[in-house]
Subunit: 474 residues, 2 copies
């Protein structure tokens, strides 16, 4: 169905479901839904629908199914791979869940939150806080990201090391299927082996198998004491040695282990307002390490000291600064969260969100750096990310002085070179951002044919007309 | 295809794949594969095939697919719902993975183990131990249960509270599909958002979507100090209050929270060799609570003391015994693990493996007990299980003096009554044992039609001829 073939009468029928005020057709009002925040993806649509209930979503999909109209679900529009943006053909309708913001239930005893798809991640964190618990998913976009989006993409972030991805924070789902039927599976069970794991299949399927309208989220016991340090390390091998020592010593109380380069720190502190670094930029590598405890008896700090003391004597750490207050802890994390945006100030950058087995991060970085130089001599890799998860945001800044557009024109050759190295290390071309439109061709290249066949047969089984987020993932 | 319709020539072709010595056709040699250890399920088969490689499994399925022959995968034959036993029709071939016992790789740095489907759970635990790590899946059958089985059924056990089910211990899979193709997804990644979560779909599908031939298992940091106590509590509400206090105080270091009744304890200590209880049987309820720490500085014991002291002053605990040695800790756990078998000594028992939201366990037990009395006055509920997971092994012992067979004849009416109560509390009719053949009809009754439709369409998509473990789950 092309734009010109969706008759106005059909668009009117979609609009009637949500009411005229929530069927957005004016270009200026549509703009915010049709572009991704980094401007890498833009699309067209005849109408943005903003349902306020599961029933409305169900009616929209029933109608779309009947007429074979593609529906692109969108939540906070913070995705980084274009999954939430329609195609330029204008033949897909955007369904925004932003008005579905009801918190249907909070169970303070079991610590569960039943929230609709439009509730923000920060909103969920606040509710958890209000019952003395922690919702451990955390990322730079948490003020805008919404339940439907962070579950559809199985979002990651800085809390994954200790608490897992979005998938691990969800007990039950309500999903509208391609034909408009509502699959109500809003369970609050810690254990359930009654049939296939449909929940985890829906989570991370990026709206291609169903539209998540609500979820039961679980919370965890809130740590009450934190010990946080930034340490300079002489090499990634040293950083990995520190990680393994910290993990052995702290176990599950090791709640953060991030890394970045001195270059990146220099750019961030030079250009980003309010961003400070506790150590000079000569690193050459830095790690942020955090231990969280349930009790305020100083044991978190004592444990971190022990870890760092041993690391100093092993030569694994050359300098370290401990956060002396919660405000300073916040500064440490703000430094870490600033890198993605900071890179803009060093010119064009080509970004990769990859993972490899933790033990292979060092060899991967070396091989990737060589591959980068072959594609573009002088380009500057500025990797950072979640070292404890083997998740590297392998971002590459243009050579100084190069024309930005010339560099960005490499945004096919460069990912190909980097992803080839990832494949060589049995890694993933998308550790946490998903596939969306950006990595759809890459997925075919790097996943085996059998994987692709299984995914396609599941897609056909659940969405035979292909109306759910067409052109994404598969 | 009925037994009489599998021509001997076809059976010979299957036998050729594994070699005659590993194609078991003699009744006496087949016996161990055709009955479940509690004797609730028995079946017939023309041949038990014992392949020793993924390639042989692939060839078996290719041939089975071509001729539409049902294949029943079996690992340690410890399942409790008949999932591993063929039908009585004798038209299904049993495929035992017991000879696939290679450990293909152990990565001591990342703590991963690549094991084939026939390696036992105890074997995996030993390998983890040998690299100074812990494989946290633990259950009474661990000496016999095997990788392929505990993953196909997403097994649970006593470690779930802190570490999750089998699903959470697996990073990657190798699976032979219905048509014999090998899906190699032996990833070692902590994070991977490249496409649908096929791994978690396969795990827990009980061999109906594919046959797991190998897996990458992850390990966790090994706790080095344990504080373990058995406490008498006046009610389940008190037990829940204790659980929540312990969880808040200990967070992830709370690694065990089990419960049982005084009756059960009495039966176990009276009849089971070597089983001892540290407190008399007047409970009326008991909990086992365990805190595990990464350091041997006495903090585990101090924390447990704090929790129990507060519980005493709140009246939530009436008596408690702390394990004074690792040997005594072992005794405490042996007591807990003895209940399933101990119940045999009190006559016939009808068993349920259910879960409800943790906060609802108390109301569930009350309502279930009333339902039991309506079905069989005088029947004695002897619930025990993983309180911290909301997972109750709701076992019911016959009234004293009743004929055992008469009581066991209620093994339809009783589960129906209990599961109706489970449904009322939004629970699951199978918390950890799976569906198999035992709960296949129950699944249809208690899962919504939409859930069943999704599962059936996935089954059709991946196994269109229905040859994988026919008659199980769906």
């Amino acid at each position: 169905v092309r734009l010109e073939t969706i008759p106005p009468s059909l668009i009117s029928r979609f609009a009637e479901i949500v009411g005229e005020a929530n069927a957005v057709t004016r270009a200026d009002e549509q703009a915010g839904y049709l572009r991704e925040w980094r401007d890498r993806y833009t699309g067209r649509t005849p109408v943005v629908l903003r349902p306020n209930s599961t029933e409305q979503v169900s009616r929209i999909l029933t109608l779309a199914h009947e007429h074979g109209v593609g529906i692109v679900p969108q939540a906070g529009n913070t995705g980084l791979v274009g999954g939430q943006i329609p195609s330029m053909d204008g033949d897909q309708i955007v369904l925004s869940v932003e008005r579905m913001t009801r918190v249907r239930d909070v169970d303070a005893v079991d610590g569960t939150i039943l929230a609709e798809a439009g509730v923000t991640l920060a909103g969920v964190q606040d509710i958890a806080e209000s019952i003395g618990r922690l919702f451990p998913l955390s990322m730079a976009s948490e003020g805008s990201a919404r339940v439907g989006g962070f579950l559809a993409t199985n979002a990651g972030g800085t809390g994954v090391l200790a608490y897992g991805n979005a998938r691990q924070q969800c007990l039950g789902l309500e999903v509208v299927l391609a034909d408009g039927r509502v699959w109500n599976d809003l369970k609050r069970l810690k254990k359930d082996n009654s049939g296939y794991d449909l929940r985890d299949l829906m989570i991370g399927s990026e709206g291609t198998l169903g539209i998540i309208t609500a979820a039961v989220l679980k919370t965890v016991t809130k740590p009450v004491d934190f010990a946080t340090a930034i340490a300079a390390v002489p090499s990634i091998d040293a950083a990995l040695a520190l990680f393994h020592a910290a993990e052995t010593a702290a176990g599950d109380t090791l709640t953060g282990f991030e890394f970045w380069t001195g270059d990146l720190q220099q750019i961030a502190t030079a250009h980003m307002a309010g961003v400070r670094a506790p150590l000079d930029h000569s690193g050459p590598w830095f790690v942020l390490i955090e231990v969280s405890e349930q009790r305020k008896d100083g044991s978190a700090r004592a444990l971190l000291r022990d870890i760092l003391d041993e690391a100093f004597s092993d030569g694994v750490v050359t300098d370290a600064a401990e956060a002396q207050s919660l405000a300073q802890r916040k500064d440490f994390w703000a430094l870490r969260e600033s890198f993605s945006e900071a890179q803009k100030h060093a010119g064009g950058s080509i970004k990769h969100d990859v993972s490899v087995p933790v033990a292979k991060v060092s060899s991967f970085l070396k091989a990737a750096s060589e591959a980068v130089q072959r594609v573009c001599p002088g380009a500057r890799p500025m990797p950072f990310g979640h070292l404890g998860d083997g998740n590297v945001h392998y971002n590459i800044t243009q050579p100084p002085g190069m024309d930005k557009a010339t560099f960005l024109a490499l945004w096919e050759a460069m990912p190909r070179a980097v992803h080839d190295v990832v494949a060589q290390f049995d890694g993933s071309i998308s550790a946490e951002h998903g596939i969306g439109q950006m990595k759809r061709d890459e997925l075919v290249r790097y996943r085996c044919d059998v994987s692709m066949d299984i995914m396609r047969s599941i897609k056909r089984a659940l969405d035979p007309k292909g109306i759910l987020n067409p052109g994404k993932v598969l």
